[in-house]
């Protein structure tokens, strides 16, 4: 009897205390909604619409900018794939910064979704002896070749299977995405990824306001928060509208190719059928949708 009373009074007190806490901190219902928001994949279209409306308002407040947040789903009969010409890449890193700009990556602490590895021609593809910090006057350097690495959009991704809360998954068009609202920041996926393609927001991400890209996708380049993981999404906000990813458009030597694997007329299919192609760490059976090839 006594125990019951204690519990009841505890519940009473706790509810009063939480009410007080809520009023004191000035949290409104929208923020509560966001806190209790379910996994993106379980939301109805109506719920998604509301969430996006709230997000746009929130960004307007936070960044003083009009954001267009999209939740456009995958197109029918589309499976994206990417090919990168190792014989062309000169290691100029233009793709790295085009990606940073397009996808609102944090400038400080710095996050780069693309890492360009400089390798010695004598050693071949040798990650252990590759250099990401190369900085000569001019590239390409003699005796070296360059291998940019970002998310390989695996067909059997390890990152999604280890996620304890299912905050990351593979979309029907092959893009592996993250629900930043659902991510708990445990970084298991980063440990699981054999390509080092996932990056963690250790600090509050900082993007100069005049450099913000306001054309964003919910599962892609919308502004992130501290404590979540992010990675390349093939520019989901662009490719689902038919545009090429940003790195493809910037590449000054045309080393980057992108298209629909299910379209026999696409350049990606031509490459797979006619060129010498390889994937990274094939022995791990991740089955990447990101191919490297030799154009000459």
């Amino acid at each position: 009897m006594k125990q019951n009373k204690t519990r009841r009074s505890f519940l009473k007190n706790i509810s009063l205390a939480s009410m007080a806490a809520l009023t004191a901190t000035g949290c409104n219902m929208k923020e509560l909604d966001e806190f209790f928001q379910r996994n993106f994949r379980t939301l109805s279209d109506k719920e998604k619409e509301d969430i996006i409306k709230n997000l746009e308002q929130k960004y307007k407040q936070k960044y003083n900018k009009e954001f267009q947040v999209s939740a456009q789903p995958a197109m029918e009969q589309v499976e994206f794939a990417y090919a990168l010409d190792l014989s062309r890449c000169v290691g100029c890193r233009k793709c790295v910064y085009a990606c940073v700009d397009e996808n609102n990556q944090s400038r400080a602490p710095q996050i780069h979704w693309i890492q360009v590895l400089q390798m010695e021609k004598e050693k071949g593809i040798d990650f252990a002896h590759s250099d990401v910090h190369y900085n000569p006057e001019k590239v390409p350097e003699k005796g070296h070749f360059y291998l940019p690495v970002a998310c390989q959009q695996c067909r059997t991704p390890q990152c999604t299977t280890v996620c304890p809360v299912k905050a990351t998954w593979q979309e029907p068009d092959g893009i592996v995405v993250i629900d930043y609202n659902w991510c708990i920041g445990c970084r298991y996926c980063m440990a699981a990824c054999p390509y080092g393609a996932r990056h963690f927001n250790w600090g509050e991400p900082e993007v100069p306001e005049e450099e913000l890209n306001t054309d964003v996708h919910y599962l892609g380049n919308r502004p992130r928060i501290k404590g979540v993981v992010e990675k390349c999404t093939f520019c989901i906000q662009r490719v689902r509208k038919g545009k090429y990813p940003s790195c493809v458009e910037i590449c000054p030597v045309g080393a980057r190719k992108f298209g629909n694997l299910l379209d026999p007329e696409s350049e990606i299919r031509y490459i797979l059928e006619n060129k010498r192609v390889l994937v990274l760490k094939e022995e791990l059976n991740t089955q990447p949708r990101f191919y490297y090839f030799f154009g000459v």
Partner: protein
């Protein structure tokens, strides 16, 4: 614990960044916009890049000069091109690509005249594999839409036909060394030093 949790949550959702100007960032697309054609076609009509200022039409000068088919080093005119010419220069010179009698045209090995807009055909005489790859979008670069309108670049957009080898590029800055990344924000840093 729950009360503490709510306090932390409340704090995080009420903290907001300061206001700033409203700018629309431009999506980087520094490539020249040129004529558009879809895949799977044999004739590719793309606007050629502009020729050197004041040099075209060539016939403005050449109609008054007697044509001289003899292979020689040019000294009075076009010496700038002679200076950089590096395209199998042991075996080739101007009139292997430019027509002797009509300087406003290029000339295939067959003798057929060719507009400057179709220079890719001239390149393809020797570089057949490159031409084949370029037609399907593997050599060179396409921008626009992966499932629709694409913008092509001609050979001569990227390669100087008189010296086609690519110039070396200055690389963008390398990523910050891991040990030098500050995970505190500038704002927080300022706060700490205050």
């Amino acid at each position: 614990m729950l009360v503490l949790g709510l306090f932390i949550f409340g704090y995080s959702c009420s903290s907001q960044l300061s206001e700033a100007d409203n700018h629309n960032p431009e999506i980087n697309n520094s490539t020249e916009q040129i004529a558009v054609k879809t895949a799977g076609i044999t004739e590719i009509a793309v606007e050629a890049p502009p020729l050197t200022d004041g040099i075209f039409p060539c016939n403005d000068c050449h109609s008054e000069i007697e044509a001289n088919p003899e292979r020689r080093e040019l000294v009075d005119m076009h010496d700038d091109i002679t200076a950089i010419f590096n395209h199998d220069s042991d075996n080739r010179w101007c009139l292997d690509c430019h027509d002797l009698n009509n300087r406003d045209s290029l000339r295939l090995a067959s003798g057929q005249l060719l507009d400057f807009k179709e220079s890719y055909k001239l390149c393809g005489q020797c570089h057949g594999l490159k031409l084949r790859d370029w037609k399907v979008g593997v050599h060179g670069k396409r921008t626009g839409e992966w499932n629709g309108k694409k913008e092509y670049l001609l050979c001569v957009h990227c390669h100087d036909p008189h010296s086609p080898k690519f110039e070396l590029l200055t690389p963008e800055p390398p990523p910050v060394m891991q040990e030098n990344i500050s995970y505190l924000n500038r704002k927080q840093n300022d706060h700490e030093t205050e």
